[in-house]
């Protein structure tokens, strides 16, 4: 399941969907653009396009290096246009503020890499869905802060990607999501979403349909990427046919 929907407040304020996702092979990645910056949707889309050109993009070991490489090259280009550091940082604040959450599937485990905030959606072997909220204060840690030298006492330079390993013995599937899915956790009326994730519900119910029918509850952009259990999905289809 791959969803990326514009939040209601963004729709009413005339702001684009600032989230973006990328999936390839065993890897899935979500970029959640900062709502306060003007054009963060440009940063998310630009980053993904450049990241997708790298040769070792699906390798877990190379992920952190790849992200650093893309940012280094991007900012080198922009230095040509913005000569002073202040102008460059203003440009960064307007365009390149986004959090990064990635998930790699290995033989025995799922590895989640996180920089900033976001949700990890887990499905255990009893088909129980859990929403793990990673939240580190009101000011999220954006990767690009590492390149900002005008921020006083810039603690973000020392920050690195957080790594969480989920064993396949305990979990059937791991998904990643932006913080826009908070209403799904909060409201009981959206509890059907769990059944869609685990494919217990029939195919008539789609995740996008649930979000659209309750769009006013979703203020922020909603992005969720999770591999659904194909066996369950086939089961529900067969039941439908019978």
């Amino acid at each position: 399941m791959k969803i990326s929907r514009q939040g209601y407040t963004h729709y009413s304020d005339g702001i684009n969907n600032q989230d973006f996702y990328y999936t390839e092979g065993n890897m899935k990645m979500i970029l959640d653009g900062c709502s306060d910056s003007k054009y963060s949707e440009i940063g998310t889309r630009l980053f993904v396009q450049l990241f997708a050109t790298l040769p070792n993009r699906t390798k877990l070991e190379c992920f952190e290096e790849n992200v650093k490489y893309v940012f280094d090259k991007l900012l080198e280009q922009f230095k040509f246009w913005y000569k002073s550091q202040e102008d460059l940082e203003n440009f960064i604040m307007d365009n390149l503020l986004f959090t990064i959450v990635a998930c790699f599937e290995t033989e025995n485990s799922f590895v989640v890499k996180l920089f900033g905030d976001g949700y990890v959606v887990t499905v255990n072997h009893n088909d129980c869905v859990s929403y793990i909220k990673h939240y580190y204060g009101r000011r999220p840690t954006y990767y690009v802060y590492k390149y900002c030298e005008l921020i006083p006492n810039n603690i973000f330079k020392e920050y690195e990607f957080k790594t969480f390993t989920f064993s396949k013995e305990d979990f059937k599937e791991i998904g990643i999501a932006s913080d826009g899915i908070a209403p799904i956790v909060k409201y009981d009326s959206l509890k059907t979403f769990d059944d869609i994730i685990t494919s217990k519900l029939k195919s008539d119910y789609t995740a996008e349909g649930v979000i659209l029918s309750n769009i006013q509850s979703f203020g922020d952009d909603v992005t969720l990427v999770i591999n659904q259990d194909i066996k369950n999905y086939e089961k529900s289809k067969n039941e439908e046919e019978t």
């Binding site: 129980c128 859990s130 929403y131 793990i132 920050y159 957080k162 305990d170 979990f171």
Partner: protein, 290 residues
């Protein structure tokens, strides 16, 4: 008021109150008899009303008897009376109500006990699991806030289970019945062992018992319609008799209920997958350090 008064008919005529004259005033003798019968009957009723307490006769009698003159309605001052024509609603024709009431007197009121259906009020049951280990010492304020926010409604049931290396299952309590010791988390804990699996294995039978036993008072019946399980701690275990598998199956039994909500507040983000293994739906971290 009679028509004679309006149009001046019989003006200046002498008043004739003799019974013979009265007879002439009516069209037929039968009319006169009926009138007379009514008047007598009403006066009797008045007497009987004072004895029996019947209502309704006083009005008709007062219209027949002038308070100033003491004369009856058909003996008015002006020559002859049209009361039989104009006011016959009161006394024109025999009214059987009084007679019926006399025949069938009202039954005395007896208050009989009735079967009362008690109104059912739906309540929420909140189970709070607090792990009393050293890991919670830095989060004293946050833990107290979480407990307070979970125990807001005064009409709901609460069950606060504090566990370390041992635990005791408390009873279902209302908020007013909770003690200060239960609500406030003081910290300064030296214990390092927790028996989470034992606690989790004991929750499903406790919930079943609570849901099936309907508490009642004089007016209402109370039913549990919603259950919330809030866990606080590291979600790890090192002192249980029950196994991990037992605990998982017990918790899954609890999660099979549709009316259940689960939340776990972890001490650090590294341990947040532990409650996910159980199947807690909403998992948050109390520490915000990156």
């Amino acid at each position: 008021m009679g028509i004679d008064r309006i149009f001046g008919i019989n003006k200046g005529k002498d008043k004739d109150n003799r019974p013979e004259a009265k007879k002439k005033e009516y069209d037929t003798e039968r009319d006169y008899i009926i009138k007379d019968y009514n008047v007598k009957k009403n006066s009797e009723n008045l007497d009987s009303d004072t004895k029996t307490g019947y209502r309704g006769s006083s009005k008709s009698v007062s219209s027949q008897e002038d308070s100033s003159t003491g004369k009856k309605g058909y003996e008015e001052d002006f020559g002859y009376s049209y009361q039989g024509f104009f006011d016959y609603g009161n006394q024109g024709y025999p009214n059987d109500d009084f007679a019926d009431k006399r025949r069938y007197p009202a039954e005395p009121k007896v208050i009989r006990p009735r079967f009362m259906y008690k109104q059912t009020l739906y309540r929420k049951l909140t189970i709070i699991l607090i792990e009393e280990t050293t890991a919670l010492n830095p989060f004293v304020n946050i833990v107290s806030k979480i407990i307070e926010s979970s125990c807001q409604s005064e009409s709901d049931y609460y069950c606060i289970i504090k566990y370390g290396d041992t635990f005791t299952m408390p009873k279902l309590l209302f908020k007013k019945e909770l003690k200060q010791e239960d609500i406030i988390f003081k910290g300064n804990i030296t214990n390092e062992k927790s028996c989470l699996y034992d606690v989790v294995c004991n929750i499903p039978p406790f919930v079943e018992e609570a849901v099936l036993s309907h508490k009642e008072d004089e007016r209402y019946k109370y039913m549990i319609s919603e259950i919330e399980v809030v866990g606080i701690g590291t979600c790890t275990d090192n002192a249980s008799k029950n196994t991990k598998k037992d605990a998982y199956t017990a918790f899954n039994k609890l999660l099979s209920r549709k009316d259940i909500k689960t939340k776990y507040c972890c001490t650090s983000d590294v341990l947040m997958q532990e409650p996910a293994k159980f199947g807690f739906r909403n998992i948050v971290c109390m520490s915000k350090e990156y």
